[in-house]
């Protein structure tokens, strides 16, 4: 038993092992990586044609913003949300169906590290994918984003990550307990994304949608990032957006971790952790 490390630092270092594990697994599915990027660009291509039909006057920004610029930010954040959420839910589901969850839980590793470790790769890869997508689209479709908006937009995205993580943890807890239910979370995510103004200006929706979007973390993140990338709104606006996002993200994350811990405790008590 020599050479073992314990404590918070040791637990944190285990995340590196999780990241390496998932990187190797993902690299073994090269076709899936390629098709993910093809899908993303196909979506952007479709919206670039739609953009030719939409007059900029319909977009917030006084006719100066093209629809492709508007929707690219929406696609990026919605994609971030969808991919992040799907992978968060499937991470624990996969561990359970592979039978590796039980093997992991008999090691001296805390449930929180298992949960975070199972998604650490995606928490790093998905924001990276979002940024690369924005850069490539801006080059390919000649969309000009404000150069001084990238860093504040990234910080807004960072403040949004705990919300996705929290929602994913709630979904994981549901899947752990009921073995099903990821579909319901997917529908909720779609409803939240669709009414956030990701694809269409909120002015096109019924009047009651806009107030909901103003407290919807996805809507807050998207409008905040648009203000930075398209309008170059600056640091003050970014901090206001982050101040709105942080409590919502924090509460969702705490709820998610609590739900996951409860679900894990229940499965251990019943001895059904390895069943799927």
């Amino acid at each position: 038993m020599t050479g073992t490390r314990s404590g918070a630092l040791a637990e944190t270092l285990k995340l590196g092992a999780f990241f390496r594990r998932d990187l190797l697994v993902r690299l073994s599915y090269r076709g899936a990586i390629v098709s993910d990027w093809i899908n993303l660009f196909a979506q952007a291509l479709v919206f670039s044609f739609v953009s030719k039909l939409v007059h900029p006057i319909h977009i917030n920004g006084g006719g100066r913003t093209s629809y492709i610029a508007f929707v690219t930010v929406g696609i990026a954040v919605a994609g971030f949300m969808a991919v992040g959420l799907a992978r968060l839910v499937s991470a624990i589901q996969q561990e359970q169906s592979l039978g590796t969850l039980e093997s992991l839980m008999v090691t001296p590793t805390t449930a929180s590290v298992v949960l975070l470790g199972s998604v650490i790769y995606d928490l790093i890869y998905v924001p990276f994918r979002t940024v690369i997508f924005l850069i490539i689209v801006s080059i390919v479709f000649n969309v000009s984003f404000a150069a001084n908006g990238y860093i504040p937009a990234l910080l807004i995205l960072a403040a949004f990550i705990p919300f996705v993580w929290g929602l994913g943890s709630i979904a994981s807890a549901g899947v752990l307990t009921f073995r099903r239910g990821s579909g319901a979370i997917g529908f909720l995510a779609f409803a939240l994304t669709f009414t956030s103004g990701a694809y269409f200006p909120l002015a096109l929706f019924p009047s009651w949608v806009a107030p909901l979007a103003s407290i919807n973390p996805i809507g807050i993140a998207i409008s905040g990032m648009r203000a930075q990338l398209i309008g170059g709104a600056g640091w003050h606006d970014a901090l206001v957006t982050i101040a709105k996002l942080v409590p919502l993200s924090g509460i969702t994350l705490l709820l998610g971790l609590y739900a996951f811990r409860l679900a894990m405790r229940r499965e251990r008590r019943l001895g059904t952790l390895g069943l799927y």
């Binding site: 314990s6 390496r20 190797l24 697994v25 039978g99 992991l104 090691t107 590793t109």
Partner: protein, 257 residues
């Protein structure tokens, strides 16, 4: 409850560091990763550095006879290879306590023997091995102590020999004939009379040669067979229907079910 002197309730993480676990499930590894990468990952879950985890993983893969499959994806491993990989993982951190759950389930006799031999050598080196099984005959000459659990309650604790002594119902499958023909009803009546209260003899199947003999506790098999022979019955074959261990287990576990 304590493991290696550590109270499991008070410090479960410390207790887990001292336990190697061999799960019963078939597939408990990441199929897209190699055997080496799988073991190194689980090693790191014990808080060791990657280099040390790799070194331990390589050593254990050699110990369990998987040195040729170190870099092969686990998804391509056979059932027996996965069982051996499970053993390598359980031994990775040299735990003082090893919990093995249904290790030989689904293995051919040769594969089962390899796992048992490996376990025997681990136990010989001082590791406490808890071997969970429903294949009772494999504990003969293998386990030092036996605990029988029935619905979460201990119904027996002792040695394998003590467990065998719990057996009382003794069933045998006999192949009987007379000198020149199969047993007719008269011959069977004579044989039953010779048995008396020492047991019961009944036909099995339709070939008129096979019989089930259930002996009472006080009966001696050799005497019973000799008395059957004295009635003109030829005993061609005699096989125990169930082992004493199986009989004992059933006796200890089916009483309440």
């Amino acid at each position: 409850m304590s493991v290696a002197g550590i109270d499991v309730g008070q410090d479960p993480m410390a207790a887990r560091r001292h336990i190697g676990f061999f799960p019963s499930a078939d597939r408990t590894f990441y199929n897209r990763l190699s055997g080496l990468e799988n073991l190194a990952f689980f090693g790191r879950m014990y808080g060791i550095r990657r280099q040390e985890a790799l070194a331990r993983a390589r050593k254990r893969l050699v110990d369990v006879g998987l040195s040729d499959a170190v870099d092969q994806r686990v998804g391509l491993y056979s059932h027996g290879m996965q069982k051996r990989l499970s053993m390598a993982r359980a031994l990775l951190m040299d735990p003082p306590v090893l919990v093995i759950d249904e290790a030989t389930d689904g293995l051919d006799p040769e594969g089962a023997r390899r796992v048992q031999d490996l376990t025997r050598s681990i136990a010989a080196n001082g590791t406490a091995v808890i071997w969970t099984t429903q294949r009772l005959d494999e504990i003969r000459g293998f386990a030092d102590a036996v605990t029988v659990l029935d619905q979460g309650r201990t119904t027996f604790q002792g040695t394998v020999e003590d467990l065998m002594l719990k057996s009382s119902a003794r069933g045998y499958l006999l192949r009987l004939r007379t000198a020149d023909a199969t047993l007719d009803d008269d011959a069977l009546r004579r044989a039953a009379a010779a048995l008396g209260d020492r047991g019961k003899l009944a036909r099995v199947g339709t070939d008129r040669e096979h019989f089930r003999l259930d002996l009472a506790e006080h009966a001696v098999l050799g005497e019973v067979l000799a008395d059957l022979s004295a009635t003109g019955v030829v005993v061609l074959d005699c096989a125990q229907q169930r082992s004493e261990l199986e009989e004992s287990f059933l006796r200890l576990t089916t009483a309440r079910t």
